[in-house]
């Protein structure tokens, strides 16, 4: 190919993008939508259910305080500590539940795989930043709250290019 036609082709293919739809979106106002409510694990079948791996959610009525999640995380990030809670559940005699330090957690989800009682799952919430380190530690009470996450933007492919809409 001659030099001139090489340049012309390059400019042509670049200038096409003046009319192609924008790929990016405005993040804090618009948010991505995820499939499902987050990563879950079915211990009976031994296989996970696809979903986004964000902050955890803890079912207080299911957790037995068996510490298997804390043991699983020991070699990964040591993010889980077992703490005493002021609640009386008959499946949880010792009244201990996991507390997660998001300053350490790497969101691998292997603690969810380790929980045999359907008590620990993950959610779509990824906005966890805080001004102090202490606020990154989520107590069992905080982990119980279902996050309010409403993302509606998806990657779609149209005739005029890929875009978020």
């Amino acid at each position: 190919m001659s030099t001139a036609s090489g340049f012309i082709k390059a400019i042509e293919s670049g200038s096409k993008h003046l009319v192609i739809r924008r790929f990016t979106f405005r993040y804090p106002e618009q948010k991505l939508r995820f499939v499902g409510d987050g990563y879950q694990f079915d211990p009976k079948k031994g296989v996970g259910i696809a979903g986004y791996r964000g902050r955890h959610i803890l079912m207080h009525d299911k957790c037995t305080g068996c510490q298997l999640c804390a043991i699983a995380c020991e070699g990964i990030a040591e993010a889980i500590g077992m703490v005493k809670v002021d609640e009386n559940w008959k499946q949880n005699k010792k009244s201990i539940m996991p507390q997660i330090d998001y300053g350490k957690c790497v969101f691998c989800g292997l603690c969810v795989d380790a929980c045999p009682f359907y008590a620990l799952f993950m959610t779509n919430d990824y906005e966890l930043s805080s001004f102090t380190k202490e606020h990154l530690i989520y107590t069992p009470q905080q982990l119980e709250v279902k996050p309010k996450y409403d993302g509606s933007i998806e990657l779609i492919i149209t005739d005029r290019g890929a875009t978020h809409g």
Binding site: T3, A10, G14, G46, A50, L110, A114
Partner: protein, 386 residues
Amino acid sequence: MATLEEKIEETRRLGLQVVKETEEDRLMTLSIGPQHPGSGHFRFTVKVDGDYIVYCDPDPGYVHRGEEKMCEYRNVIQNIPHLERPVIHDSTNVTYSYSLAVEDLMGIQVPRRGQFIRAIASEMNRQVYTLYWLAIYGIFLGHSTMFMWPAGDRELFIDLLERLTGARVTHAYNIPGGVRNDMPEGFKQRCLDHINYFEKRLKEYEDIFYNMPLFRQRTEGVAVLSKEDAVKLGVTGSVLRASGVPYDIRKVEPYDVYNEIDFKVQYMKTGDSFARSYVPFLDMKESCHIMRQLLDKMPQSGEVRTKLQPNPKGPAGEAYRRVESGRGALGYHIVSDGTPKPYRVKISVGSFRNMLALPFLLVGNKLADMPAVYWSLNYWPVEADR
């Protein structure tokens, strides 16, 4: 103006020694890196004579994390998240070869659907890595459009991987015994849509970058690595294929379902910087073709994972398995003494081997060609240091 003789006389009068300029004095030593001025966290010193590089000494190790030692204190499952950290853009391929080695060691069979899913995930992850690398290559040659485009189009595959694995970059998806979860609904159609669109984009990449006369002039004929030298230096991946050796682990040592897939090993004969940058591009094209076949041949339903014990352990022994990662052969050698924790893990990475070609290629080139040569090596400093 004082003449030279007068100057020498003056110097002598002051009691100073007169020294003649030597050959050595012509050379200037430059330190490139390690604060990421386009080299990654990696330093190399070059000596330049005018514009030309006459000596190069790579000095890796700034991001050494002791991955191999860390493996000895964790069981085989807990090792997964930290092993993928050195090269987060290609994390599925890292855990792929690790899982293959552990499966060999423990004698685990992976269900057929699981094999297909992890092959698809690894192809996608290779695209993500190659696009990221291409973006850096573009910006270091001063082509900022080529930085924006691949960095944006990465999103096509990151979006798919996010749906499949639940994380955008560090997936922790492969696990000894298969994959952690099945595909979500409608995933196959979405994959095909994205692949079709991506193939159209690849044509535009060719127009704006690879066929661009400026890019060609900067890379063609620069730092030629001959076939014999490439083999002797032990380079791997796209660097080896650019020198005319059609060597791809997926072909020479097919793992999982790759022996059922029909694909060609992409290679070029010239061995210059252009070939080294064009071969990964050809690989991306071929990878789209492979992904289509994988999606087509995949069983529609079935198990994806063999269940393991919580603290899995196998018999004492050793295993070595390799996969083709974005940077070439990536191998894990695991020695087990029968306990849940590996006795020794050795990681063999393509980045380190390709880096060894750097002094060989840089010497004799102009300093201004340094980015074109350095990035064409498809080298990831963090992975090389492990």
